[in-house]
């Protein structure tokens, strides 16, 4: 293993040890028939939230948002947590990458 690889591992470990603690409020977002319900979801601004993405379809979906910097697969009939924020007030679109024609939505932070 090279010196740079060892240094890099050290760097990653030291940065990874900085972890955050308290649990943010949970907000639910449902996927049904390849659509997000609700398609527009109001969330509090300037605070971290835990988005619970509930996939009621049998097919997998990928919750993705460039604005939120999020990308996460949710398998059929499963629920995944996605931490979001703190967000400045505004509109943050997201989409389901596997069914992008229908699966479009946005968080409204206010």
């Amino acid at each position: 293993m090279s010196k740079s690889a060892a240094l890099f591992a050290l760097f990653v470990m030291s940065v990874a040890s900085i972890a955050s603690a308290s649990e943010p409020p949970e907000i639910q977002l449902v996927i049904r028939d390849h659509r997000f319900v609700p398609a527009e979801l109001k969330v509090p601004a300037n605070t971290k939230i835990k988005l619970m993405v509930v996939n009621q379809d049998v097919t997998p979906e990928e919750f993705e948002s460039h604005e939120l910097n999020r990308e996460k697969v949710v398998t059929g009939r499963a629920t995944i947590p996605v931490y979001v924020g703190p967000l400045r007030p505004g509109r943050y679109p997201f989409f389901g990458d596997f069914h992008a024609e229908t699966a479009q939505g946005a968080l409204i932070a206010e």
Binding site: V12, T59, P81
Partner: protein, 278 residues
């Protein structure tokens, strides 16, 4: 069918960009296609396994298994590229200047080729598992399977074609600058992968973002534009990166270019190359 074509093309394109850089960077090393081919095959098998285990991965580590898994895969690939880059800095010039004489000397190249085989396998695994999950969803949802096959094959072929075109383009780099250029590309590729890993660690909420986003260049080039996607796969472009992602990116660039410089043999040592290693 078009939607399937585009999705498959997108995933294949990302892996193909990585494979083409690896293929170019190993120019002149005997047996490289076997290593690259093995990497692709292992990656395909891995993609199937990851897709099959997607639910288990997602549920692990209080719902953050996916983030840790992706970050782990990306950082492993970063490490392997780093290893290769430093090795190439030591031996690349020798390969370039003596490609004829030492062409059969694979033993020297065996170790770093293992590293790059792992890089190829991990790239294919990551992008491939999404394709498998998507295809499985189409089948499970009862969508037209004819369109799935046609779209999938077209996506695969066009993605591979883009990779081949990229490879052909890289080969046009003059030999004098060739390994410098491919090593530079590998460093940026590794930095981009590390930045993506930082993104997943941000997403898992284990690393602070430092700034979110650090900047927003969506007005210039969005992440979902084709150029944005290609640049993301090649050099880690992101329109709205976090501060931590930028920090990872810069750290890798500094570490690897510094490491390569330190590992590079001195010019006078190269002049005296025929002495066998002791």
């Amino acid at each position: 069918m078009l939607a399937i074509w585009i999705l498959v093309f997108r995933e294949v394109l990302e892996a193909a960009m990585i494979v083409s850089i690896v293929a170019a960077a190993t120019r002149g090393i005997a047996g490289r296609w076997r290593w690259i081919g093995s990497g692709i095959l292992i990656g395909c098998a891995g993609a199937g396994l990851v897709a099959a285990g997607a639910e288990g991965i997602a549920g692990a580590l209080s719902g953050m298994g996916q983030e840790w898994f992706n970050a782990g895969v990306l950082l492993a690939a970063t490490t392997m590229i780093g290893w290769h880059v430093v090795w190439m800095a030591r031996h690349g010039r020798q390969l370039a200047s003596e490609a004829g004489r030492f062409g059969a000397d694979v033993s020297a190249g065996r170790r770093p080729l293992t590293a790059l085989m792992v890089v190829v396998a991990l790239a294919v695994l990551r992008e491939g598992s999404e394709v498998v999950l998507f295809a499985y969803g189409m089948l499970a949802g009862g969508s037209a399977s004819g369109g799935l096959v046609t779209g999938g094959v077209l996506g695969l072929l066009s993605g591979v074609a883009a990779g081949v075109a990229m490879y052909a383009g890289l080969l046009r780099i003059p030999m004098r600058h060739f390994f410098r250029a491919t090593n530079g590309l590998l460093i940026l590729l590794a930095a981009g992968l590390a930045a993506a890993a930082a993104g997943f660690l941000n997403q898992a909420d284990v690393l602070p973002t430092l700034a979110d986003p650090l900047w927003n260049s969506s007005w210039l080039l969005t992440d979902d534009a084709w150029l944005g996607r290609a640049l993301h796969a090649l050099v880690g472009y992101s329109a709205q990166p976090t501060g931590m992602q930028a920090l990872f990116y810069l750290s890798i660039v500094v570490l690897l270019s510094g490491g390569a410089r330190l590992a590079a043999p001195r010019r006078d040592a190269i002049a005296a190359v025929p002495t066998p290693s002791t």
